[in-house]
C-alpha cells in the first residue's frame, strides 16, 4: 500500500505545480497624479457629470398647480416619472425600454469608434474612483511621498491622515446617497426634512445603502469592480474590431526600449533604438495597475492617463509625444512592416449602429410627440357573462377605466356601438345628450361600472363586437377600445 502511494506521489507533485492558484491576492494601487490633455478631459467630465447628478434634483419646472414642479422626478407614490416637459405613466414603460436600448446602442457605437470610452471617462465607477483617488492624494500625498511617510512619519500623523481620508470619502459617499433620494421626492422639501431629522425612514435607509456602496466600491474595491464584477469588458472584447481606436503603446516606435543614453547612442550608431526609456510612468499612472506596453488587455479601462504620463516624459526628453496614443494595433503593425496605415471610422459596423440609433431615437421622439392624452380600457364581467332581466332583455356589465393624462379636469362622454337597441348606463354618473358622462380629474384615471342592455333577441351564444368610444366634451379628442357583448 505505502509503496504504491510513494510511487504516485511525484506525479501528484508535478500536477500541483501546473495548477496555478485560482486566487490572486490583490495588490493595492496608488496611481500617481498626471497632467495633460486626457487628465483635463477627465476632470471636465467629472465636474460636469457629478454636477448634473448632485444638482439636477433642484432644477425646477413649472407644470401648473397640483403637479410637482421638479424637473426630474420619479414619483413612486403617484406612479409617475417626470423629465422636464415629458411625463411617463407606468403603462408607458416601453419608453424606458427604448431608452435602455438606445443607451446600449450608443455604448456599442462608442466602442466601435474608440473602444472603452464609457469605461475610461463616463462610467460612475470610474468617475467616483477618480474622485476618491484624488482625495487620497490630497490627504496622503503622491505615492512616493506616501511611501516616505510610511517609513518616517509619526504613527499619530499617519493615523490622522488615514482618518481624514476615510471621513472625506464617507462625506462624498453620503452626499452621493443623499442626492440619489432627492430624485424620488421634492428635493428642497426632502432636504429640509432630512436636515431636521424628520425625513421618511426609507430615505435614510437608501442614503445609508448608497453611502455604503459608494464608500466600498469607489474607496476599497476600485479597479476590482472593472476586472472581476463588470460584464462589459467581456462583452466589449467580443464586440470590438481591429479598426476601433484604443489606447495603444506604439511598440514600432518604442522598442527596443532602453535608457536615454543607451538608445541615443544606438541611434547615433545607426542601430535600432526605441523611444521608450522604460521609466514605468505609464504603469505608475494607471488606475487599474496594468502595463499598457503589454498590449490591449482586460484590465485596461482606456482612460488615457498613461498617454499623459508618457507625453510628459517624452516632452522632457525632447522626443515627440504620442508614444502611447489612441491608435490601432493593426496600424502599429503596418508601420513596423512599412505598410500604409488604415483608418476607417466609417465602416459597416459604425454606420449600422448610427442608423439604428437614428431610427430608434426617431421612433421614440415620434411616438412621444403623437401620443394621445386620453385612453380607455374595458374589462368585461367574467362572472356572470350576461344577466337576464325581468323584462326578458339581456344585460352585459363592463368595468371601464378612463385615463386623462392632461393636467386639467376633463369630462368624457361614452358611446357604445355594435349592440342593437342598446341602453347604456354608467352606475352613479349623469347623462348628457343621451350619453353617460364621466368626469376624470387632472392627470388621473377613473374606473366606472358600465351596463349595456338590449331587448333585441340575439342568436344563441351570440358574441357581438362592441366599440366603446370616449370623447372629450370640450375638445372632441377621443379614444376607443373593443370588447364583446355576450348573450345566452
Amino acid at each position: 500500500m505505502s509503496a504504491s502511494l510513494e510511487a504516485a506521489a511525484p506525479e501528484a507533485a508535478t500536477a500541483t505545480e501546473d495548477d496555478a492558484p485560482l486566487y490572486a491576492a490583490r495588490r493595492k494601487i496608488y496611481p500617481i497624479a498626471v497632467h495633460g490633455r486626457f487628465r483635463r478631459i477627465k476632470w471636465t467630465i467629472l465636474i460636469v457629470t457629478l454636477g448634473i447628478y448632485y444638482l439636477l434634483p433642484f432644477v425646477r419646472w413649472d407644470r401648473g398647480p397640483g403637479a410637482p414642479s421638479q424637473a426630474v422626478l420619479i414619483d413612486f407614490p403617484n406612479r409617475r416619472f417626470y423629465f422636464f416637459f415629458i411625463e411617463i405613466w407606468p403603462q408607458e414603460i416601453y419608453y424606458i425600454t427604448g431608452l435602455l436600448i438606445l443607451a446600449a446602442l450608443v455604448l456599442f457605437f462608442m466602442n466601435a469608434v474608440a473602444g472603452r470610452i464609457w469605461c475610461g471617462y463616463l462610467c460612475p465607477q470610474t468617475v467616483w474612483t477618480d474622485l476618491f483617488q484624488a482625495i487620497e492624494r490630497l490627504v496622503e500625498g503622491d505615492p512616493r511621498e506616501r511611501r516616505e511617510k510610511l517609513k518616517h512619519a509619526s504613527r499619530g500623523q499617519r493615523a490622522f491622515e488615514a482618518a481624514a481620508k476615510h471621513v472625506l470619502w464617507l462625506m462624498v459617499a453620503w452626499w452621493t446617497g443623499g442626492a440619489w433620494v432627492l430624485y424620488f421626492a421634492d428635493a428642497p422639501t426632502l432636504t429640509m426634512q432630512l436636515l431636521k431629522g424628520q425625513g421618511p425612514l426609507v430615505a435614510y435607509a437608501w442614503i445609508g445603502i448608497l453611502t455604503f456602496t459608494t464608500y466600498v466600491l469607489a474607496g476599497h474595491m476600485r479597479e476590482q469592480v472593472c476586472t472581476y464584477m463588470c460584464p462589459w469588458p467581456r462583452i466589449q472584447a467580443a464586440l470590438t474590431d481591429e479598426y476601433a481606436f484604443n489606447v495603444t503603446y506604439r511598440y514600432d516606435r518604442g522598442e527596443p526600449r532602453g535608457s536615454f543614453k543607451k538608445t541615443e547612442a544606438l541611434k547615433l550608431a545607426g542601430l535600432p533604438g526605441g523611444d521608450c526609456v522604460d521609466c514605468k510612468q505609464c504603469v505608475a499612472a494607471c488606475p487599474t495597475g496594468v502595463d499598457i506596453r503589454e498590449g490591449a488587455q482586460l484590465g485596461c479601462i482606456q482612460c488615457g492617463l498613461c498617454i499623459d504620463a508618457c507625453d510628459a516624459i517624452m516632452t522632457k526628453l525632447s522626443r515627440p509625444a504620442g508614444l502611447i496614443a489612441y491608435d490601432t494595433e493593426m496600424n502599429v503593425r503596418a508601420r513596423q512592416e512599412g505598410k500604409p496605415e488604415q483608418y476607417r471610422v466609417l465602416r459597416p459596423r459604425t454606420l449600422l449602429y448610427a442608423a439604428l440609433i437614428v431610427v430608434i431615437g426617431g421612433i421614440m421622439v415620434g411616438t412621444l410627440a403623437t401620443r394621445s392624452s386620453e385612453n380607455v380600457a374595458i374589462i368585461h364581467d367574467r362572472n356572470p357573462f350576461f344577466v337576464l332581466l325581468s323584462d326578458g332583455s339581456i344585460r352585459n356589465a363592463y368595468t371601464v377605466r378612463l385615463v386623462n393624462k392632461e393636467l386639467v379636469e376633463r369630462r368624457f362622454s361614452i358611446a357604445v356601438a355594435g349592440v342593437p337597441e342598446a341602453r347604456v348606463e354608467v352606475m352613479g354618473e349623469p347623462k348628457e345628450g343621451g350619453l353617460p358622462v364621466v368626469t376624470v380629474g387632472p392627470d388621473q384615471t377613473t374606473e366606472v361600472r358600465l351596463l349595456v342592455s338590449t331587448h333585441t333577441r340575439l342568436p344563441a351564444a351570440a358574441s357581438l363586437d362592441v366599440d366603446f368610444t370616449i370623447s372629450d366634451l370640450a375638445t372632441g379628442a377621443s379614444a376607443s377600445a373593443r370588447d364583446h357583448f355576450k348573450g345566452p
Binding site: L5, A12, N383, L388, L389, D391, G428
Partner: protein, 292 residues
C-alpha cells in the same frame, strides 16, 4: 497507530491527515474555518435560548409556553388591530353615513364598493357566486328581480337578518309542499304549472289545461303570489310573470316546485359582520346593476 499518523503531512497536497486510512487512502485534515464553526455553535446556543424563550415542546395536552409568553394568536390580534386602525377612517365614515349618503359620495362609494367586493368574496360567493351571478336556487344579484326587495334599505335588512334564518327579525314565508303534503293532486299541480308558465308567455305544453290551472291558482297560490301572479316581496313570493326563474322555467321544474315546496335560506349576517361591512355589502350589491 492512529496517533502516529496524526500529524503526517500528505505529500501531494501539503495538508496534514487525520490518521484515518482505508485501503491506503488517507483522509486529509481540512477543518472547517473557525468562523464557520463558531456560526454552528452560535446556532446551537440560539436554538437552546429559543426553547426557553418561545413556545417549543409539545406536552400531552399543552405545550411549553416559553418565558416571554408569546402566542401566535396574540400576534394575529395585533395585526388585526392594526388593520382595523388602518381602515378606521373610512369604516367610521361608513358607519356614520346613511346608505344613500354613501352612494352619493364618490369617495365613500369607491371605498364601500372595494370593501364590499372583498367581503362578498369572503362571505357571499359560496352561494351567490364570485360575481354574484347566482345559481339554481341561489338568486342572481345582478338582475333587477328581487325576492325581498331591491332598495338599499331592503337589501340591508335581508343581509342583516337573513331569510328563513335563525334571526326572528329575518324574512319569513315558505312555498308549501302542495303535493307531498296532500293539499293538491297531481292533475291539479300539472294544470297550475301550465297556467303559471302562461303568465310569462312561455309556450304551452300540448295537453295544457290553462283554464283549470287558473282555478287552482286562484284558490291556492294567489294568496301569496297575488291574483295576477306578480308576487309579494313581504312574503318573498316571487313574481311569476317575469323572465327570471330561480328554480328553472320548464314544466317539470315548476311541477317540482309546487309538489315539494321551496324555501331557500339566507343566513343572518347581523351578528357575524360589523355594521360598516354590512353597509359596504349593501352598497356593493345595490350597485351591481339591478338595485332599485
Amino acid at each position: 497507530m492512529a496517533e502516529a499518523h496524526h500529524n503526517e503531512v500528505d505529500a501531494a497536497s501539503g495538508v496534514s491527515t487525520t490518521g484515518h486510512e482505508w485501503d491506503g487512502i488517507r483522509e486529509l485534515n481540512n477543518p472547517l474555518p473557525r468562523w464557520w464553526l463558531w456560526t454552528f455553535y452560535a446556532c446551537i446556543a440560539w436554538a437552546v435560548a429559543y426553547w426557553v424563550v418561545y413556545p417549543a415542546w409539545p406536552m400531552v395536552s399543552s405545550y411549553t409556553s416559553g418565558v416571554l409568553g408569546w402566542r401566535s394568536r396574540d400576534a394575529v390580534q395585533v395585526q388585526l388591530a392594526g388593520l382595523r386602525a388602518q381602515r378606521a377612517v373610512f369604516a367610521e365614515k361608513l358607519e356614520a353615513a346613511s346608505l344613500d349618503q354613501i352612494e352619493q359620495n364618490p369617495e365613500l362609494l369607491a371605498f364601500a364598493r372595494a370593501q364590499g367586493r372583498a367581503a362578498f368574496g369572503d362571505n357571499c360567493a359560496p352561494c351567490h357566486g364570485a360575481g354574484a351571478g347566482g345559481a339554481k336556487g341561489y338568486p342572481n344579484l345582478n338582475d333587477d328581480d328581487w325576492l325581498w326587495g331591491g332598495s338599499l334599505e331592503q337589501i340591508h335588512a335581508t343581509i342583516t337578518h337573513g331569510a328563513r334564518s335563525t334571526d326572528d327579525a329575518g324574512h319569513q314565508g315558505n312555498m308549501p309542499a302542495f303535493g307531498t303534503d296532500g293539499i293538491l293532486q297531481r292533475p291539479d299541480i300539472l294544470a297550475a304549472a301550465d297556467y303559471v308558465r302562461s303568465l310569462s308567455g312561455l309556450p304551452p305544453a300540448p295537453d295544457a289545461q290553462i283554464a283549470k290551472g287558473k282555478e287552482v291558482f286562484e284558490a291556492n297560490c294567489a294568496a301569496c303570489h297575488g291574483p295576477e301572479g306578480k308576487g309579494n316581496q313581504e312574503l318573498g313570493a316571487p313574481n311569476l310573470t317575469d323572465g327570471i326563474w330561480l328554480y328553472g322555467s320548464s314544466r317539470a321544474d315548476i311541477v317540482a316546485d309546487i309538489t315539494h315546496g321551496r324555501g331557500g335560506i339566507m343566513p343572518a349576517w347581523g351578528g357575524r359582520l360589523d355594521e360598516g361591512t354590512i353597509k359596504a355589502l349593501t352598497v356593493y350589491v345595490h350597485t351591481l346593476g339591478g338595485g332599485k
